[in-house]
Symmetry: C2
Subunit: 408 residues, 2 copies
Amino acid sequence: MNTLTHSSVEERFEALKREGLKLNLTRGKPSAEQLELSWPLLRIRDYRSPSGDDCRNYGPIEGLSEARELFGGYLGVPAKNVFVQGPESLRLMHDVFLQMYKRDAPGGISWERMKSNVRQPYMLCPVPGYDRHHTICRTYGIGMRPVPMTATGPDMDVVEDAVRDPCAVAMWCVPKYDNPTGITYSHETVERLARMETANPGFRLFWDLAYQEHTLEEKAVELPEMLSLCAHLGHLDRPFIFGSTSKVTFASSGVAMLASSDENLAWFRTSLFAQTIGPDRLNQLRHVLFLQSVNGIRSLMQRHRAILKPKFDEVDEILTRELGGRGLASWTKPRGGYFVSLYVPGRASEVVRLAGEMGVELTPAGAAYPIRDEADAHIRLAPTFAPTPTVGPALERVAVAIVKASGG
Amino acid sequence: MNTLTHSSVEERFEALKREGLKLNLTRGKPSAEQLELSWPLLRIRDYRSPSGDDCRNYGPIEGLSEARELFGGYLGVPAKNVFVQGPESLRLMHDVFLQMYKRDAPGGISWERMKSNVRQPYMLCPVPGYDRHHTICRTYGIGMRPVPMTATGPDMDVVEDAVRDPCAVAMWCVPKYDNPTGITYSHETVERLARMETANPGFRLFWDLAYQEHTLEEKAVELPEMLSLCAHLGHLDRPFIFGSTSKVTFASSGVAMLASSDENLAWFRTSLFAQTIGPDRLNQLRHVLFLQSVNGIRSLMQRHRAILKPKFDEVDEILTRELGGRGLASWTKPRGGYFVSLYVPGRASEVVRLAGEMGVELTPAGAAYPIRDEADAHIRLAPTFAPTPTVGPALERVAVAIVKASGG
């Protein structure tokens, strides 16, 4: 039963404004409570790896061997197919992107060379999508072609049609618990991405497994492992797979990984050699000793889930209570990840503005779109960082903003 | 008194070969004994910065404020003019390089645009120089013009002449305890670099202060601070200044910094935003708490010196004893840094080969040259990593190799 009647919404709005709360739902950050889960990591003083390496000194550019073993398992690939590097996968994506721009990758030519032949390379971007992916393209002048998201992943008819153009050089994907929709690509979507023929022989998938084990349910959703699937379907070098522990251990102080084919990694290694003597292995060692195994990661993620699940439940409950059945809004119910997508066609900007007046800061409307959200529909909700007791009041305000924006 | 007579060298060579020692003078790595100096850093469990930030979570992209304060002081620049980032300055150099390539920097046009106008940009490279600087240029197809080193830094007549060409876009410099010569640029050299007029208005100095406090004497050599000097001489945006703690605390697990003008940093920040949410602040905090102050860094570096000085002394003593006054070789006597340059004109490759036969691995002859060492003269000696008792035997073998190579 909705408690927000049209006649009461103005009153509620004014009352909530007067309360002067300050709530923030903009950032996909772990909460302090989640960070506490990894406290033993901060107590690790070891510097010698299980195999005897002194991790205080320079070591192999590919990362600590025990870390490659562990995070290969985490991503579902052999240790030899993963490089473990510094804290952020965003940096690895940026690096691979710039290398694709600057240097001929296996099977293709550099985007710079394409440009000098007056062909404008662009990337396919499921929309809504992760804003920092778009920032990379924007910063370096690579075009973006939006692809609509469906409940099973990007609209594959659109994708298969788009890759007939050789200027479509790559595609951003967050296939599991997508940022910001929370959707996981269906097996069929994944297989079509691995199987499709592309006009550009150097076409790549930027496969961002940011939320690989970040389930909100007892068991994580299954996603086919992309490296072996692409190999099986004859497109061995297609995927660059990214992962990190930013939301497993410590944001900004975790480790990041890149998995790909032997040939892609050999190609990427050349650029690594130009920018690093070797990654921070002390931090990799801490992670190996703390997490221990893929099962260790999974059980840690269950403890994250215990903290996060009530917040996501609260989002859904409040929105359902206040808006259910009224046709004013729809929203996703993610099975994992960090975000809920809220759709209020034609009113997203106004909702963000009104929520702001009641003290709730939301991500700017349209921020998840590479160019703009033509429908002014999408708002990304990020409930992870906010203390649990504040999620309800924040969502109540969002609901009031929606009713008010729709002339309630 | 040389103990190596021409008649005895063959005998010595064979005898030393038979001993079957394995010694390595190739890598500019700290020794295990040096790494021990920073053991308290590994015991720091704090995650809250002095100003109260939770460093386990995402924070400002420019780095921890206390770290900017400390390392601004270390580089001699205001905190606002330094970004503190991940472990390696090499990565920052690579990043700035690629940004200069890809994006118009303040006052100039991108190297990519120059290329599309059929102008081939190149960097000036003092020779011998640091091989990884050359690797960056080589990896991305930027030319290198060698500039001879003198006892006071790069030959400034050559430099001033070279920068009359607008295709000279930047210059690599290790102005203090240079890699590999150990030379520190004279005040006159530094001032001429800051003052000179360049045909390319976007010309930049890549000012690599890798060995800022890495003195082998009681007091570090003085080098003018380049940011304020360039500002004073009307070329505010000329220097990008790099530093790191790779040889202060832990190699690969330290922190790195970039100092530059407000405008350069604002420009660089745009690219940082495309690649990082923020740097590893836990590690920055550990460094702040361990090092405490610039004086704290200096006193730690004196303890490094106590370990390193005997090794460098040994290099000079053995070479003097075995080769002094014979005209077969010359070498540098660095006042700081990590390397000795050894010159054996026409015989460097042969000396490296012969030393190898006696079990001493040396950096390949010519490795410090961007294209090649025409004179086949230069060998870089790196005595820091080798245990002190092995430095003498290694250098003895190098001396024997030199005498034998010169027909002794």
